[in-house]
């Protein structure tokens, strides 16, 4: 299936400035898609996921309008054409 990642501004320094990255993903979950993204753009995935493979606490991953925190985390299923947004949470100081 084909999925599209939409990237927060900071992450674009690891995508050559591209706002979106479109990938062919053999698996069926958000975790599968992030693994493929990590192979193509390791700088992005290492900012979204920590070294143990968990989504960083202050990073939000959305499928469409839904946060994966509410839909099964990295096991959230994808459909062909899904849009995955990788965004900074509003937390800060």
């Amino acid at each position: 299936m084909t999925v599209t990642f939409q990237l927060a501004g900071f992450l674009r320094s690891f995508s050559g400035g591209a706002r979106e990255v479109r990938l062919e993903v053999p698996g069926a979950t958000v975790g599968d898609a992030l693994r493929v993204l990590g192979e193509r753009h390791p700088g992005i995935s290492s900012r979204v996921l920590d070294e143990q493979g968990s989504v960083r606490r202050h990073v939000n991953v959305f499928i469409g309008d839904l946060s994966i925190r509410d839909t099964g985390g990295l096991a959230t299923p994808l459909r062909d054409g899904s849009t995955i947004s990788l965004l900074a949470a509003v937390s800060g100081g």
């Binding site: 900071f10 992450l11 690891f14 390791p42 700088g43 290492s46 900012r47 979204v48 920590d50 070294e51 143990q52 968990s54 960083r56 202050h58 990073v59 900074a88 949470a89 937390s91 800060g92 100081g93």
Partner: protein
């Protein structure tokens, strides 16, 4: 994002590296240290708790650990004084699979002069990393990570961090580290085995005031030419060791408070050290609203306030554990920054001070060097 101001650093300049909660700054002056200009912010929006200047093997390299609340921590370096930075695509300091996730890098410590490829990083959660290829890769120091005490270390106010790394410049294999809260540990075999070195250091916040470990050591400073001489600023308590940490003597005589965070040693005089006492662990600001550095010139036998050029009215300041540094000039430059964003410098061993900046983000790290 703000525009980063670049500065031209020339050989022979004195540079002051300043890490803040919102980026890093670089100050430079000519050899006279009379007038500084500022560059930065670098990594705007990211906290920079650790900076180091590495001049070994002909380098002119600044190391900077930037940390984003959102995107994690990464060790960067610049070989052109901030004009450009090398940021690894995948962070080089990472725990192995199945361990923990890196929260933050608290300390960058270039290794001994005769081991120019060695660099250490102290991190949160409390652990030590070592590079043997000049920072291209880092490995977790397993001997400390597997220490049986580790599960009992508790986080201090800043988290459970290994914030101080002190390699011995003369005894190969000897490294001392400090952990909040765990205390002081030392290895004699390059990191394979570690023994606790807290004898004499109090833990005021525990029922047992002299536990084997669990002390909240804030900073340890070693004199480079006399490496068995160490000074320690504790969470309550000032100490000196003359046996590389085997034992510690109380030297809190003549200070308004023995609570504080930072500690620095004069680069050429092992009897001279600097602290900024803070009033109580509840208030954590300078006593009486006066910003005073205290200096000992007799190894902690007595301490005397240094205030010329420092605000002495309504100055409720805090100087954090790594926010003081020295250059290596004979008449030493002493530099420190405050949590309120002020930066001060002395070019006469601390006798007098001038403000280099006011209005920086909260200062968490200060280092200085002639380049």
């Amino acid at each position: 994002m703000p525009t980063t101001q670049q500065i031209q650093v020339r050989r022979g300049d004195v540079v002051v590296l300043v890490g803040t909660m919102k980026g890093a700054f670089l100050f430079r002056s000519g050899p006279d240290r009379a007038r500084f200009e500022m560059g930065g912010p670098y990594f705007p929006g990211h906290s920079v708790y650790a900076l180091a200047y590495d001049s070994r093997a002909g380098r002119q390299r600044i190391w900077a650990a930037s940390s984003s609340m959102h995107w994690g921590s990464v060790l960067n370096h610049s070989d052109d004084f901030g004009a450009s930075w090398t940021t690894p695509e995948v962070p080089t300091v990472q725990f192995p699979k199945g361990a923990k996730a890196l929260a933050s890098i608290w300390q960058i410590c270039p290794g001994r002069a005769d081991e120019p490829e060695v660099i250490y990083c102290g991190v949160e959660p409390a652990a030590l990393f070592e590079s043997r290829d000049a920072g291209k890769s880092f490995q977790l120091v397993e001997g400390l990570w597997q220490h049986p005490h580790r599960e009992q270390w508790q986080p201090g106010g800043g988290g459970l961090c290994l914030h101080t790394v002190v390699p011995d410049p003369k005894v190969r294999g000897r490294i001392l580290v400090a952990i909040s809260t765990g205390g002081v540990y030392r290895t004699e075999d390059g990191g394979r085995t570690w023994t606790v070195r807290n004898k004499g250091v109090r833990a005021e916040f525990l029922p047992d005031k002299h536990p084997e470990f669990g002390q909240c050591v804030h900073k340890v400073a070693r004199h480079p030419g006399r490496p068995d001489r160490l000074y320690l600023q504790n969470h309550w308590g000032l100490y000196r060791s003359d046996d590389a940490g085997d034992s510690w003597q109380d030297i809190a005589r003549g200070v308004p408070s023995d609570f504080g965070f930072c500690m620095a040693v004069h680069p050429h005089d092992a009897e001279t050290a600097y602290i900024v006492p803070l009033e109580s662990d509840g208030f954590r600001c300078t006593p009486e609203g006066k910003l005073r550095v205290y200096r000992t010139r007799d190894g902690g036998g007595s301490w005397h306030p240094l205030s010329e050029g420092l605000p002495q009215r309504d100055a409720f300041e805090t100087v954090l554990r790594d926010a003081m540094g020295t250059d290596e000039e004979q008449r030493a430059g002493i530099y420190f920054g405050t949590r309120s964003g002020k930066l001060f410098a002395s070019r006469d061993d601390g006798d007098s001070w001038t403000a280099l900046a006011a209005g920086l983000p909260p200062v968490v790290c200060v280092r200085a060097a002639r380049v």
